[in-house]
C-alpha cells in the first residue's frame, strides 16, 4: 500500500511541476520493491488534485508500467479529485481502477464492447484463466476468450503471468489490479 499523501509536500496536488516531483518519488518507491506487482494507492489525505497533477503522477506511473505492474486507487471519495483522475487517465488512454468496498470502478480508458464482459468476470476474482471464462459462457471458444484477456492485459486493465498448462503448453493466468 502506498499513501500518495506521504509523497506530497501538502494535501494539495497542484500542477505539472509538482506532479513531476511526486512522480519521481513514487517511481523510486516502486523500483525499490522489485517483487511487488500490484500497488494499492491510498488517496487519504489528498484534499485536492488537479488534472495536470493527476496526469503527471499516478496516471503516468500506470502507463509506464502497463502490463508489468498495476496501480489502483483506494480511499478516493472526493468527487472532484475523482473527476480529475478520470479526465487525466482518459487523456492518456490509460485505465485506472478505483476500489470502493470491494467494488471496482474503471476511470479513464474503458474496455471495448467485446471485452467488457471478460473484464467484469476477471474483476470478480483475484485470478482467472481463459478456460474458466469459457466454462461460464456458452458459445465462447478458448481462442476467443484468450484474445479478449490478452487485449485487456495489453491495454492495462489486467496483469498476467505464464503458467504451465495441463496439456504441457503455456497458459496465462490473469489477475485483477487490486
Amino acid at each position: 500500500m502506498i499513501a500518495l499523501r506521504d509523497y506530497m509536500d501538502d494535501g494539495q496536488g497542484w500542477g505539472r511541476e509538482q506532479g513531476r516531483q511526486v512522480f519521481q518519488r513514487l517511481l523510486d518507491a516502486v523500483e525499490a520493491v522489485q517483487d511487488c506487482i500490484v500497488f494499492r494507492v491510498s488517496m487519504r489525505g489528498v484534499d485536492r488534485a488537479d488534472i495536470s497533477f493527476a496526469s503527471e503522477t499516478l496516471v503516468e506511473l500506470a502507463r509506464r508500467f502497463r502490463g508489468q505492474k498495476g496501480f489502483c486507487l483506494v480511499d478516493l471519495s472526493d468527487p472532484d479529485v475523482k473527476e480529475n483522475y478520470e479526465a487525466a487517465a482518459a487523456r492518456k488512454v490509460q485505465p485506472l481502477i478505483v476500489w470502493t468496498r470491494g467494488a471496482a470502478l474503471v476511470l479513464g480508458a474503458q474496455p471495448s464492447q467485446g471485452t467488457r464482459d471478460a473484464l467484469d468476470f476477471a474483476l470478480q476474482r483475484p485470478r482467472t484463466r481463459a478456460a474458466e471464462f469459457v466454462a461460464e459462457r456458452s458459445g465462447m471458444t478458448i481462442a476467443n476468450a484468450s484474445m479478449k484477456f490478452k487485449q485487456l492485459w495489453e491495454q492495462g486493465f489486467l496483469l498476467r503471468e505464464e503458467s504451465a498448462a495441463d496439456s504441457g503448453g503455456v497458459e496465462y493466468v490473469y489477475s485483477r489490479i487490486g
Binding site: 494539495q12 511541476e17 485536492r48 488537479d50 497533477f53 496526469s55 472532484d80 479526465a87 487523456r91 492518456k92
Partner: protein
C-alpha cells in the same frame, strides 16, 4: 465597456504609438476582471518603452480608490504615471483578507509560486456561494479551475511580465467574478502545435472557432482528447453554470451556458480587436445557483 473604449481609441500596441493615456471620467466603474486586464495591458505597453498614463478624474473617491483597495497599484509598473497622483499607501496591504467577498489581486510568477492561491480563491467561492445546494462540489471544481489556469500561466509565461488573479463578489448582481490574466504566450500558440497530430479537424479551424470548439468539446463527456487544463476547467465551469469570458491577443469569446434543458450554449465572438498579449480569462458564477 473597457474593450469598447480601447477599440474606439485604436491599438495601444500599434506602431507609431508612443504615448497611451487611459482616462476614467467621473462615475466610471470597473469590475475586477476588467481591472486586471487593464493592469496587464498597461504593464505590457509600459514594457515596450511607451509612456503610459492613467488619469482618474474623480481621484481617490472614485475608480482609483477601488483599484487601490484591490491592490492594482501594488502591481502597476513604477514608470506608469497616475493622475492626480499615485495613492500614498496601499489600501490592499492595509485591509488584505479583511473582506470575505474579495481576493485582492495576486501576482502569478513561476519563480514566486504562491501555493495557497488556488485555495484562497476556492475558499472565497465557498463562503460566498454557501447557500448553493452544490456548494461542496462547486468548491472542489473551483479549486481545480484556478489550479489549472494558474499552472497554465506558470507553464506558458515566457515573458518577464507577471500574471494576475483576483476575485470579487457582487451581491447585488448575485454573482462572483474570478479573473486570471497573463501576458505570456497565448493559449492558441500552446494548443495548436499538439493539434496537428491529434486532431487534424481542429487544427484547420480559425482561432475563434477553435476556442469555441474547445469549450464545446469540453462539456461533452466523451470528447476524444479531453483532460487538458483549459478544456477540463472550462468543462467544470460550465457544469456549474458559469459564464466564461476569454480574451486572446486579437479575439474574445464570451460563453453563456444554457440555463434551461432545451436552450443551447451561446457563444459571442469578437474578432480583430486591438492587440493584448497573453490570455485573459474571466468566470462568473451565480451566488445562489
Amino acid at each position: 465597456m473597457m474593450e469598447a473604449a480601447i477599440q474606439r481609441a485604436g491599438d495601444p500596441h500599434g506602431a507609431g504609438v508612443y504615448e497611451v493615456a487611459f482616462r476614467f471620467p467621473v462615475g466610471s466603474k470597473l469590475m475586477i476582471d476588467a481591472a486586471i486586464r487593464l493592469l496587464s495591458l498597461a504593464n505590457q505597453i509600459a514594457a515596450t518603452s511607451r509612456r503610459v498614463q492613467l488619469a482618474f478624474d474623480e481621484g481617490e473617491v472614485g475608480t482609483m480608490g477601488y483599484l487601490n483597495r484591490v491592490g492594482f497599484f501594488d502591481h502597476l509598473t513604477r514608470e506608469i504615471e497616475v493622475a492626480p497622483t499615485r495613492p500614498t499607501y496601499s489600501a490592499a496591504s492595509v485591509h488584505r483578507g479583511g473582506n470575505a467577498g474579495l481576493v485582492e489581486i495576486a501576482r502569478i510568477n513561476k519563480d514566486y509560486r504562491d501555493q495557497s492561491l488556488p485555495g484562497r480563491l476556492a475558499d472565497a467561492v465557498k463562503r460566498s456561494c454557501a447557500t448553493r445546494a452544490d456548494i461542496q462540489e462547486l468548491t472542489g471544481a473551483a479549486w481545480t479551475i484556478f489550479a489549472e489556469l494558474i499552472d497554465n500561466v506558470f507553464s506558458h509565461s515566457r515573458t518577464p511580465l507577471d500574471g494576475y488573479a483576483a476575485l470579487q463578489v457582487y451581491p447585488r448582481g448575485d454573482r462572483l467574478v474570478v479573473a486570471v490574466s497573463d501576458s505570456g504566450v497565448g493559449i492558441m500558440e500552446t494548443l495548436r502545435p499538439a493539434l496537428h497530430n491529434t486532431s487534424p479537424y481542429l487544427a484547420q479551424l480559425s482561432d475563434l472557432d477553435l476556442l469555441v470548439e474547445i469549450f464545446r468539446q469540453g462539456i461533452s463527456r466523451h470528447g476524444s482528447d479531453r483532460g487538458d487544463g483549459l478544456r477540463g476547467s472550462a468543462a467544470k465551469a460550465m457544469k456549474f453554470q458559469a459564464d466564461l469570458d476569454v480574451r486572446l491577443p486579437y479575439q474574445r469569446v464570451r460563453l453563456i451556458p444554457a440555463r434551461g434543458a432545451y436552450a443551447p450554449n451561446t457563444a459571442h465572438c469578437f474578432d480583430h480587436l486591438p492587440l493584448m498579449w497573453g490570455t485573459h480569462i474571466g468566470f462568473t458564477f451565480r451566488l445562489h445557483g
